[in-house]
């Protein structure tokens, strides 16, 4: 499934054109990205939480050469699915 399929689904539910639906999907995703960029979480009831975690520097290896390299500190987004979502995929 892709963004266009999500937009189609919205078209069927709400009286908007495909282009408008596509723009709205983009807009919602953009809002989520803006929040995550600030380091804040996005919590969607019945779906899950997107959280930003900071990772410190750690050692890694170049898998090809085996050479040891430092992995720079970075921020990552993690997703925790809600109980409902977890239950849904196992039913």
């Amino acid at each position: 499934m892709r963004k266009a399929d999500i937009a189609n689904h919205i078209c069927e539910q709400v009286g908007v054109s495909k282009t408008e639906a596509m723009d709205l999907v983009e807009y919602v995703l953009q809002c989520m990205k803006d929040v995550l960029r600030k380091g804040e979480s996005v919590k969607i009831a019945g779906f899950g939480n997107f959280m930003v975690r900071s990772k410190g520097e750690r050692k890694g290896r170049n898998p090809r050469t085996g050479e040891e390299i430092a992995i720079t500190p970075r921020r990552v987004v993690t997703f925790r699915a809600s109980q409902i979502f977890k239950r849904d995929v196992n039913s």
Partner: protein, 98 residues
Amino acid sequence: MTKAHLIEKVVEKAKTLNRRDAEKVVNGIFDSIRDALKRGEKTEIRGFGSFRLRIRRTKDGRNPKTGETVSVPEKRMPFFKAGKEIKELLNAEEPTHE
């Protein structure tokens, strides 16, 4: 930020939509992704990330109270992988090295 905030944003953005429709827009996004994974289908959203299932294999666990060995059945887990754009967005000061 919660889903209610996202709905509020959509109401402000799309003036022609009422609150009920804005709710349908936001719910529609997450429902589509969830329904796709229920069918075992992954979703790839360009510029955001991808949602797919990860399978946790059957493993032997223990009942912590009795110490008895029990088999934990195979389980499917929703898994999100952030896209390149998000990774770069969150680490804008320093270039990311792969």
